[in-house]
Symmetry: C2
Subunit: 128 residues, 2 copies
């Protein structure tokens, strides 16, 4: 596995939440697990842009950070179910806040993200 070479900043709440939430698919994983999609294959279907591998890795990190738990049923073919821990559940309102802001400003965001400085006049200095 990959071993970190720099030490994380853990000075304030923002640093701390960043440590557990960074990762391209983590927020979505937490969200869908909360919605009741608990099995790896269900999550993969909900997030088709991510590869199986990456989802597994990020789920494992969420587990190490005690945001989710993993139940293994000893059946064949194997069955696994992820659930939010109580700790993980406290993140749901936070995630909802993020998604809500994104939804509210959807059009504008799509605009500024896609324009990618095509002849923008950003560089006209605002001189006083």
């Amino acid at each position: 596995m990959y071993e970190r070479k720099t030490t994380p900043n853990l000075n304030c709440g923002l640093d701390l939440i960043g440590e557990v939430l960074y990762g391209k698919w983590k927020i979505r994983l937490l969200w869908f697990i909360d919605q009741g999609y608990q099995r790896p294959s269900e999550l993969q279907r909900k997030i088709p842009d991510a590869s199986r591998r990456v989802l597994n890795i990020q789920l494992k990190e969420l587990e190490e950070h005690e945001l989710v738990t993993r139940k293994i049923y000893p059946v064949v073919p194997p069955k696994v179910e992820y659930s939010l821990t109580d700790f993980g559940k406290t993140l749901i309102p936070v995630i909802a806040t993020l998604g809500q802001w994104g939804d509210e400003h959807e059009d504008r965001l799509r605009d500024v993200i896609l324009k990618q400085n095509v002849g923008s006049d950003l560089e006209v200095p605002l001189i006083i």
Copy 2:
């Protein structure tokens, strides 16, 4: 400059907010600008772990995403001031929510982040 080779996902609000907020120092930059630290040198002092270079780059991205504006005063030595746009200001409560969650769970977060699986019993399967 670096040119993106993959297209971003912009399906939902979470994707959208991710596009403008990802970047190691962006959230802090927005936060401190809102607190009144508007000049690049002030921001650098508030965020000593980031290099000058990276802050400049991330500030420019925030500007392209219309979250901050940049005023240039034609004086020597140069003076520049960043401010939140009205759009940027709408993010402050969202950021506050993030920081608050991190603060509330500070101890536990520090724990799970630092333990880094030292002889954890995570692997004892929970069999039913």
